[in-house]
C-alpha cells in the first residue's frame, strides 16, 4: 500500500519518506546511494593518485595535496564506501533471509544510517575548509597530533560520528539475528550470508570501541591540550597504533566476511547445489572472526615489540590461512558437478577466487615477521591489501549487487552490460595491482609523492596507471547499467534467478513493506529449496493470516544526527575561537532534545489490517 501511495504523491513526499523511513529495505537503498557516491569520490581520488604517479617527478598535484588524497582515498573507501555498501546488503537481505518483517530496532537502524552519512559528509567538508586530513588513513601519532590546520580534526570527528552509526548498526543486526528468526530457523539452518553478518556484527561490537577510545584520546590531544600521544609530556605515540589496529584488523574481517557469505549464497544458487560443507563454512567463519582479534600487531612488526611478540603474532596470522583455505575449497567443491549458470554475479564470484587467493598468499608472506622488515611500507603492502580489498570486497559487492538487485529494486541489472563492466574492471585490477608487488620489492615506498627517474620504476608505474583507467571504465559501465536497467529492464519474478534457495526468494521482488504476509515455517537448510523439492509453490506459513504490527516512520534519527554534525563543527573550531562552543551547545541541544522527545512521546507503531493484506495479495504485490 505505502509504495503505491508514495509514487502518487510526487518527489517531495518521496524525499520525506526516505528522510523518515525506518523500513530496512529503504534504509538499504539509502546506504547504497550514499556508499555508491562515496565509492565514486574515493575512486576519483585514486585516479588522481595514479595520474600523479604516472611518470617520474610528476607535478600533477602538490605534495601536500597528495598526502590529503591518499588519506582521504583510504578513509573514504574503508569507512564511507565499503562499510555502507555492506550495510546496504545486510539491510536489504538479512531480515528477508531469516523470515523477519524488519530489524529488531528499526528506529536505531535509521539512526545508524544518518550518523554514518553526516560523519561522511563532515569528513568531505574538510576539502572546502582549508585542507583534508593528511596523516594517512591510519592517522599515526605523532604525525597526526602535530599536523597543522584542522584536517585531522575532521578525521577524528567524522569517524567518531560515523563509527557510532556503525556500532549501532552492528548491535542492531546482532539482536535481529538472535531474536527474530522465523520458527524452525535454528542457527545451523541460517543461510551463510546471515551467518557471516552475525559474526561480522559481533566483530563490530568488539572492535569499534577500540577505535572510539583511540579517537577520543586523539580528540583530547588535538583539541583540549592533553598529551596521551605526546612523548615530550610523558605520553606514548605507540598507544594510538595499538588502539587503531586492535580495531583495524578486525575491521578488515568486518569488510570481507559478509561478502564471503554472499559468495557462498551465489555459488550455491548458480550451481544449483547446496553449499558444500555448510557446517565447515560456519566453523571457518566463526574461527576467522575469533582469530581476527589475535593478529593486529602484525601491522606493527617493525615497531620494536621484540622477537617473542612478533613470533606469536606471525604464527597467529598464518593460522588464519587455514579457515580461509577451507572456504576457498568449499566454494570450488560447491561448483564442482553443479549446473553452473555464468551470470554476471557468478562471473564476479568466480573471478574473486584466484584474485583473493593471491592476496591471501602475499598476506602469509607479509606475516613472516623477519621478511616483513623488507616489505614494510613498500608498494608490496599496497599491492597485497588491494588484492584482498578490491579482489575480495569490491568484487563481492559487485557480485552481491547483481545477485540481490532484483530483490532490492524489482528489476534485474542488465546481464550483458554487467559482463561488459566486469572485463575491463577485472583486467584493470590485475594490471594496476599485480605490478605493485614488484615495485615494492624493488624498493618503491608507499605514500611518497614522487619517484625518481632511472631507478627502474617507470614502466611498472605506467602499467599500474593504465590499469586504473580500465577499472574506472568498468565502474562507469556499471553505473550506466544501473540507469539503463532502471529504464529498460522488466519486472523480475519473486524467485528472480529461478534457482533461489533461501527465504528472500519466496516473496515478491521487491517485497511489500511488511515482507512476509505470514511468517514462514522453516523446515531445513535452504528452506525454499526444501519446499520446492516437496513440490510446493511457496513456504508453509507458521501463523494464520492476521493484522501485522509495523513501526512508525520518524524524523528524529535525522535530527539527532544533524545535532552531532553541528556539535562536531563546534568541537573542531572552538580551538580557534571559543564562540564556536555555541555550536557545541546547539548541536548537543538538538541531539538531547530529540532524545527527550523520543523518550516522552509514546510511539507504539501501527497495524496493517488483514483486509489490506488480502488486497495486496490479489494485486500480486504480496505473497
Amino acid at each position: 500500500m505505502s509504495t503505491a501511495v508514495a509514487q502518487k504523491r510526487g518527489l517531495g513526499a518521496a524525499i520525506w519518506d526516505y528522510l523518515t523511513t525506518v523500513d530496512h529495505k529503504k534504509i538499504a537503498h539509502l546506504y547504497l546511494y550514499a556508499g555508491g557516491l562515496f565509492f565514486l569520490i574515493g575512486g576519483l581520488e585514486a585516479m588522481i593518485i595514479r595520474i600523479q604517479l604516472m611518470k617520474p617527478d610528476n607535478n600533477f598535484i602538490s605534495a601536500g595535496l597528495y598526502n590529503e588524497m591518499i588519506t582521504m582515498h583510504g578513509t573514504t573507501m574503508i569507512f564511507l564506501a565499503a562499510m555502507p555498501l555492506i550495510f546496504a546488503l545486510m539491510n536489504a537481505v538479512v531480515p528477508l533471509q531469516i523470515g523477519a518483517r524488519d530489524v529488531a530496532f528499526p528506529f536505531l537502524n535509521s539512526l545508524g544510517f544518518w550518523l554514518f552519512l553526516f560523519g561522511g559528509l563532515m569528513l568531505n567538508v574538510s576539502w572546502f575548509t582549508g585542507g583534508a586530513p593528511d596523516a594517512g588513513w591510519t592517522n599515526y601519532a605523532p604525525l597526526s597530533t602535530t599536523s597543522p590546520g584542522h584536517g585531522v580534526d575532521y578525521y577524528v570527528m567524522g569517524l567518531q560520528i560515523s563509527g557510532a552509526g556503525t556500532l549501532i548498526g552492528g548491535i542492531n543486526f546482532l539482536v535481529t539475528i538472535v531474536n527474530m528468526r522465523a520458527p524452525g530457523m535454528t542457527y545451523m539452518r541460517m543461510p551463510l550470508f546471515t551467518w557471516s553478518v552475525f559474526v561480522t556484527s559481533t566483530l563490530i561490537l568488539f572492535a569499534f570501541p577500540a577505535l572510539t577510545v583511540g579517537l577520543f584520546l586523539m580528540m583530547f590531544d588535538r583539541m583540549f591540550g592533553s598529551a596521551f600521544f605526546d612523548v615530550g609530556l610523558g605520553g606514548n605515540a605507540i598507544i594510538w597504533e595499538h588502539l587503531f589496529w586492535i580495531f583495524g584488523h578486525p575491521e578488515v574481517y568486518i569488510l570481507i566476511l559478509p561478502l564471503f557469505g554472499a559468495f557462498s549464497d551465489i555459488f550455491s544458487t548458480f550451481s544449483k547445489k547446496r553449499l558444500f560443507g555448510y557446517s565447515a563454512m560456519v566453523f571457518a567463519t566463526v574461527l576467522i572472526g575469533f582469530l581476527g582479534f589475535m593478529v593486529w600487531a602484525h601491522h606493527m612488526f617493525t615497531v620494536g615489540m621484540g622477537p617473542i611478540a612478533n613470533s606469536i603474532f606471525a604464527v597467529a596470522t598464518m593460522a588464519i590461512a587455514v579457515p580461509t583455505g577451507i572456504k576457498i575449497f568449499n566454494w570450488l567443491f560447491t561448483m564442482w558437478g553443479g549446473q553452473i549458470k555464468m551470470t554476471a554475479a557468478m562471473l564476479w564470484s568466480v573471478a574473486f577466487i584466484p584474485s583473493f587467493t593471491i592476496g591471501g598468499m602475499t598476506g602469509v608472506m607479509l606475516a613472516a615477521a623477519a621478511a616483513d622488515y623488507q616489505y614494510h611500507d613498500t608498494y608490496f603492502v599496497v599491492g597485497h591489501f588491494h588484492y584482498v580489498i578490491v579482489g575480495g570486497v569490491v568484487f563481492g559487492i559487485f557480485a552481491a549487487l547483481h545477485y540481490w538487485w532484483p530483490k532490492m529494486f524489482g528489476i534485474k541489472l542488465n546481464e550483458k552490460l554487467g559482463k561488459l563492466a566486469f572485463w575491463p574492471f577485472f583486467v584493470g585490477f590485475h594490471l594496476t595491482f599485480f605490478i605493485q608487488h614488484f615495485l615494492g620489492l624493488m624498493g618503491m615506498p608507499r605514500r611518497y609523492w614522487v619517484f625518481l627517474e632511472g631507478q627502474g620504476l617507470e614502466t611498472g608505474n605506467m602499467i599500474s596507471t593504465v590499469g586504473a583507467f580500465f577499472m574506472a571504465i568498468g565502474t562507469l559501465i556499471f553505473v550506466y547499467n544501473v540507469i539503463y536497467s532502471a529504464k529498460k529492464e522488466k519486472k523480475a519474478d519473486g524467485d528472480a534467478w529461478g534457482t533461489g534457495r533461501t527465504l528472500e526468494w519466496a516473496i515478491p521482488s521487491p517485497p511489500p513493506h511488511y515482507n512476509f504476509v505470514q511468517t514462514p515455517l522453516v523446515r531445513g537448510l535452504d528452506p525454499l529449496w526444501v519446499e520446492k523439492m516437496d513440490g510446493k509453490e511457496g513456504m508453509t506459513p507458521a501463523e494464520p493470516l492476521g493484522d501485522i504490527h509495523m513501526p512508525n516512520a520518524s524524523f528524529l534519527p535525522f535530527m539527532m544526527s544533524l545535532g552531532t554534525f553541528i556539535a562536531g563543527f563546534g568541537f573542531i573550531y572552538q580551538v580557534d575561537n571559543k564562540a564556536w562552543l555555541i555550536a557545541v551547545f546547539a548541536g548537543m541541544g538538538i541531539l538531547l532534545g530529540s532524545m527527550l522527545v523520543r523518550s516522552v512521546k509514546d510511539d507504539l507503531g501501527h497495524h496493517i489490517h488483514k483486509e489490506e493484506i488480502e488486497e495486496d495479495i490479489k494485486k500480486g504485490v504480496a505473497k
Partner: protein
Amino acid sequence: MAYNSKPAHHEEYQRKQHREEMKHQVLTFALMILFTFIAFGMVIMEVDTYFIIPTLIILAIVQVAFQLYYFMHMKNKGHDMPALMMYGGAAVALLTIITFTTLIWW
C-alpha cells in the same frame, strides 16, 4: 479432572521453584555482604598489600558473578547468547589490557 490436576501440579512445582530461588538469592546476598565486610575489614586491619590486592580482586570477581548469575538470572535458561557476548567482550578487553601492560614500553 484432568483439567484441575495439571495446573495444581504445576502450581506446586512453581512454588517449589520460587522457594528454591529465594533461598539462593538470600544465600548469595548474605555471602555478598560477608565479602564486603571481609574486604573492608582487611583494609581497616592494614593487612599486607601483596595479599590484599589479589584477594580484593578475587572477591570482586565472585561478587560480579553472583550479581550476574543469581540476581540477574544468567544461570537460568536462554541466557547463552548474552553470556557468550559478555565473555567475548571481556576477553577482548583483557587482551587489550595485557597488550598495554606488556607490549608497550614506556
